[in-house]
């Protein structure tokens, strides 16, 4: 340890700062315990203990230190926590110090001090921009497959955990009149103005303290007092909801803003239901963006050395955290704002020299600086910083800004800190998220928001305000705008800027580049290790447009999104191309502003809550009787039952056998069911289905197909006539929702004059399919009052009954139809009676050994009969493709009929439905296997594909359905089914799609 815990570090200034010295807290970093205080960030605590080296850079593994004091930090990314709570790539500068905080350096082995991967630095001439692109081309292309493994292991910064996240995340939907983003002077002013006008305000601040740029002012200054006054005034309105530790990460349509709120450290507790983070989806009447500005580095050799920091950050560490990051400093600047930071450091006891690029400096400011012992050198540029793991010396050179060149000899100073300021850049991210490109302002040397949509406004440094008075005024103006939009007026006078406040925002009035040539890498993007040379290379190779520059060099693509690099890079490229910055433009800013934990975006929709679960009335019964449940969309359905075999493969075959020889019962409640009623219902169905429904007799069911408007098959189903103006439609499970919307579209948009209502009753009816030679006997035993003779209830007949006896009052609808090809009945009953009827049927079925069968058997039985399902009706097939062309009526028009016979849909070479049986194999071919004639070379698109496969215990062979060019013309011929993904081929023989009982004798009894 370098100092006793209670002084908080050797660099800790004994007084001042916003830290709470009454609450010491320790940080454990790389195993070392460091004393800090509540109010510190991890970076502040590290700097307090003179720890600058905390990381190794992405590509070159160069030693890196803390550069900034906020979310724009590119270097000091640490891994926080361990095990399931491990989080990599957390900026130490935005990490709130709290009890139990453990951090680790990353991307270095065995340590940041001695990193073996630093050997990358020696190979750096090869690792320039476009390395992968140039290296793994031509003869070395295959080498990529070998090297990729090692490159991927070396890539990246921190390591993420692979354990499940034990924390809880919440979503909160909010509505507010005025959403103010940022609690600096402009934001506070806007919030106060709007609140006092009577509007509800939500103030969002990413830091754990309110104040924005004011937090970097000395605690005893006039601006700090102003801050306290404003916070009190906001509280007094009673209309301001404040969220701290809350980042507005994206501006979306509909005046919606996404905010990621981090719970105060130590407060998250999944057991108590306290979330770790909360996603706010805020819908605002008006959004005021007071996002402030970020400081730019200067570009000179060695500007990435630990101990080279942003000037504003130095000022912040001194004034907010009472930390003096160094004792001998050179400030490399091109603007006035940095003077305040230099003076703060000097007052904290450091020896400071300012190297100002500009030829002249405001004499009052010059006097103030000199009064605190600062040596000011004008027309001087920093040429290089050097020192390896800590900056040790700084070379400077007299520089003529107008000529752009050095005018004297290089001289060197010993330093332990270099503070650089290239001016401030308005933070235009949020205002650009909806596509409004920023525009360049020559006077500021920076981009500002290009404009604001109705309902949005900007305020403060973000829109180019240069001092406190301007910021307060612009915030007040934004509040005014919001109030006026609501037909209100601001209630009070704008607050005055505090007298003697010295907060000013200086935008660069000259280029950010110190072009003094020196040996060594000069960094533009610190996080992705992009240097000036890389930008020059991109320019030479023709990647000159900003979008190309970005992707070729990867600048701006790190977790910091180029917050400290974008503008410098654009300025360099603009200079190379001799174009104005306004012409060069910027790349696109996209959410999120700072990284957002995926858990926060998922909220509670994780694991079993990812999607709703739909269960039938018999679900618990299936679970209790060995049902192996599978997901069919959101539904849980039994695939097979454990009592029928040890494996799926055994069970489904056994189930198929007892359906064909005895009787089985399957839960088909998931089918779509739609109630269609009205005087024009019959006419409506006639238009919707390809076959006729207008003359369907009451008490009869009919199988029908519906087409899409382009003539392709949409769905099949069975519709029954319950009465003169009432029909009961069924659809497939998968298409139920789609068919419902389709019918509503036709009735509301296309044929609004038809007097028909449709209602979804899928959830209202439970349904079971009783199939097998003994099914009639079982139903006679279950419902003794019903005549099940073939005359009374013929094939495709329907009967509605109300039961008596023990089941008195329960309605049951019975439709005699078959999917399996056996004598079969579908039994419908209202869902809340579903289980009772199911159990009743099973009880009555005992003498005939009635057993339940699952989805696998259900699907396989229909393959034996050549019945088509979604695999055949896959959105590309027509009626004709499935051999059902004759079902289409020739006497009445129907939806999809006009395009059904389009040229492309009636081509002779379209693959059509065939049956396929295995020649020698016992296992069925892969679903989707591509079909070839035996004379074809096995390559290319083939002649069709396999759509459904199974093993038929009745036939004793593997069978399939497929779509084949030429279809049933090839019956008897052999084809090959090739599955390149599985590396398999099967010999199959083409047969009729109906493998069993084509005359239907088994079900017409």
């Amino acid at each position: 340890m370098s100092a006793p815990l209670d002084t908080g570090g050797v660099n800790r200034v004994p007084t001042g700062g916003r830290i709470d010295r009454a609450q010491p807290v320790t940080l454990t970093h790389d195993g070392k315990t460091l004393g800090g205080f509540v109010g510190d960030t991890a970076a502040a605590t590290l700097l307090a203990h003179d720890i600058h080296l905390v990381a190794r850079s992405f590509k070159y593994h160069r030693p890196r230190g803390i550069m900034a004091a906020g979310v724009e930090e590119p270097n000091a990314l640490l891994t926080v926590g361990s095990g399931a709570r491990q989080e990599p790539n957390i900026a130490a500068t935005a990490l709130e110090l709290h009890f139990g905080l453990h951090t680790r350096s990353q991307n270095a082995w065995p340590s940041v001090r001695f990193d073996l991967m630093a050997v990358n630095s020696l190979l750096s001439p090869f690792f320039v921009a476009g390395f992968y692109y140039k290296t793994f081309m031509g003869p070395t292309r295959k080498a990529w497959m070998f090297y990729e493994h090692f490159i991927r292991k070396a890539a990246g910064l921190g390591v993420a955990t692979t354990q499940a996240d034990p924390e809880r995340y919440d979503w909160q939907h909010g509505f507010t009149d005025v959403l103010v983003i940022g609690s600096g002077p402009a934001g506070l002013s806007a919030a106060l103005g709007a609140a006092q006008a009577g509007l509800d305000v939500t103030l969002v601040e990413q830091d754990f303290e309110l104040g924005g740029a004011l937090l970097a002012q000395p605690v005893d200054s006039a601006s700090s007092q102003w801050l306290n006054h404003m916070l009190a005034a906001l509280r007094a309105t009673g209309r301001v909801q404040t969220l701290t530790r809350a980042t507005a990460f994206g501006l979306y349509d509909g005046n919606t803003v996404g905010v990621a709120e981090r719970t105060a450290p130590g407060r998250a507790d999944a057991k108590l239901g306290a979330p770790r983070q909360r996603l706010h989806i805020l819908r605002a009447g008006h959004v005021v963006m007071a996002c402030g500005a970020l400081e730019r580095p200067l570009v000179f050799a060695g500007n990435d050395t630990p101990g080279v920091m942003l000037a504003g950050a130095v000022g912040s560490y001194v004034n907010r955290f009472a930390v003096r990051p160094g004792r001998q400093a050179v400030f490399a600047v091109n603007n006035d704002a940095a003077y305040g930071d230099a003076m703060a450091l000097a007052r904290a006891g450091a020896k400071v020299c300012i190297a100002d690029l500009r030829p002249t400096v405001d004499p009052v400011m010059l006097g103030q600086a000199q009064a605190v012992g600062i040596e000011v050198l004008t027309a001087t540029a920093v040429a290089a910083a050097s020192g390896g793991q800590r900056v040790r010396s700084c070379s400077m050179v007299p520089f003529d800004l107008a000529l752009g060149k050095a005018t004297g000899a290089v001289f060197t100073r010993d330093v332990d800190l270099v503070a650089m300021s290239g001016g401030w850049t308005p933070s235009v991210h949020l205002s650009s998220h909806r596509g409004i490109k920023p525009r360049y302002r020559d006077d500021l040397g920076a981009f500002v928001p290009g404009g604001f949509d109705a309902g949005h406004a900007g305020a403060g440094a973000m829109v180019g305000c240069q001092d406190l008075a301007q910021a307060i005024g612009s915030g007040w103006g934004a509040a005014q705008e919001a109030a006026v939009r609501r037909g209100m007026a601001l209630a009070t006078e704008m607050p005055n800027a505090p007298l003697g406040a010295d907060l000013s925002m200086a935008f660069a009035t000259c280029g950010p580049i110190a072009a003094a040539k020196a040996k060594g890498k000069a960094f533009v993007d610190f996080q992705n290790d992009v240097t000036v040379d890389d930008i020059d290379l991109a320019h030479r190779e023709g990647y000159r447009a900003v979008e190309h520059l970005k992707r070729y060099t990867t600048l701006g693509m790190g977790t910091d999104q180029g917050k400290t690099s974008n503008l410098n890079a654009l300025a360099i490229m603009a200079a190379r191309r001799s174009l104005g910055m306004d012409v060069v433009g910027t790349t696109t800013f996209r959410p999120p502003y700072t990284p957002v934990t995926i858990g926060t975006l998922a909220g509670r929709s994780v694991r079993s809550h990812l999607a709703p679960v739909r269960r039938t009335a018999m679900h618990d019964w299936h679970m209790a009787h060995g049902g192996d449940m599978m997901e069919a969309g959101n539904w849980k359905r039994p695939l097979w039952y454990h009592g029928h075999g040890e494996t799926l493969s055994q069970a489904y075959k056994a189930e198929m056998v007892f359906v064909r020889t005895q009787v089985g019962i399957a839960d088909v409640s998931t089918l779509g069911k739609i109630d269609v009623q009205g005087p024009d219902a019959a006419e409506f169905l006639n238009r919707v289905y390809v076959n006729g429904f207008a003359k369907l007799p009451i008490g009869k069911a009919r199988y029908g197909f519906m087409l899409r408007e382009d003539g392709i098959v949409m769905d099949d189903g069975t519709t029954s006539r319950i009465g003169e103006t009432a029909f009961f439609m069924t659809t497939t499970t998968a298409q139920a929702a789609r068919v419902m919307s389709h019918l509503e579209f036709l009735l509301q948009v296309v044929w609004p004059d038809l007097r028909v209502t449709v209602a979804s009753v899928s959830d209202q009816w439970a349904a079971m399919s009783m199939a097998g030679p003994k099914s009639r006997e079982v139903l006679m035993a279950a419902f003794p009052g019903v005549d099940f003779s073939t005359e009374a209830l013929p094939h495709m007949g329907l009967r509605d009954v109300v039961l008596d006896g023990a089941l008195a009052g329960i309605s049951v609808r019975i439709i005699r139809l078959t999917f399996s090809g056996e004598l079969a009945y579908e039994v419908y009953t209202p869902t809340h009676f579903g289980l009772r009827i199911w159990e009743h049927l099973l009880e009555c079925g005992k003498p005939w050994e009635l057993r339940p069968y699952g989805l696998e058997a259900l699907g396989s039985l229909r393959i034996e009969k050549g019945h088509v399902v979604g695999s055949e009706m896959d959105g590309r097939t027509t009626l004709g493709d499935m051999g059902m062309g004759r079902m289409a009526s020739t006497v009445k028009p129907f939806w999809g009929g006009a395009l059904m016979r389009s040229e492309n849909l009636i081509r002779d070479d379209r693959p059509t439905l065939v049956g396929l049986e295995a020649v020698d194999a016992k296992e069925p071919p892969n679903n989707g296997a591509i079909l070839f004639f035996s004379t074809d070379a096995i390559q290319g698109h083939g002649r069709g594909h396999v759509t459904s496969t199974t093993f038929s215990p009745t036939l004793g062979k593997a069978i399939a359905l497929g779509l084949l060019q030429g279809g049933t013309r090839h019956i008897g011929q052999e084809v090959i089914a090739a599955s390149p993904v599985h590396g398999r081929q099967y010999r199959l023989r083409v047969v009729d799609p109906c493998f069993l009982d084509p005359a239907g004798e088994r079900y017409r009894v």
């Binding site: 979306y252 349509d253 509909g254 005046n255 919606t256 989806i281 819908r283 909806r434 596509g435 949509d453 238009r687 408007e709 382009d710 929702a737 919307s741 509503e744 579209f745 509301q748 948009v749 296309v750 609004p752 028009p893 129907f894 939806w895 009929g897 006009a898 395009l899 059904m900 016979r901 389009s902």
Partner: protein, 89 residues
């Protein structure tokens, strides 16, 4: 998050609705003799940069089909009406 003013339910988030595309299409009468008009209705789209009349169905609430006038560049929603009131070209 688009906010859509359903004429029946009030202002709602767009994820209560399902989007169904161009609402300027006019369907010809059923029947193969209108083949060309059907090709026009089913396949031809203007894809405007700017105001777009489009179908949304309020699937998670009233189930009504609506026509929304939305700017495809700014995503601003200018107008919402029941589908049967849509202007036909």
């Amino acid at each position: 998050m688009l906010r859509i003013q359903c004429p029946y339910c009030g202002e709602r988030d767009h994820d209560e609705f399902s989007y169904f595309g161009d609402a300027t299409k006019v369907y010809p009468p059923l029947g193969a003799e209108h083949h060309d008009a059907w090709v026009e209705a089913v396949y031809q789209r203007d894809n405007p940069k700017g105001e777009h009349l489009e179908f949304w169905q309020h699937t998670l609430a009233c189930r009504r089909w609506l026509v929304v006038r939305r700017n495809t560049v700014s995503h601003d929603i200018l107008d919402v009406m029941p589908a049967r009131e849509r202007p036909l070209s």
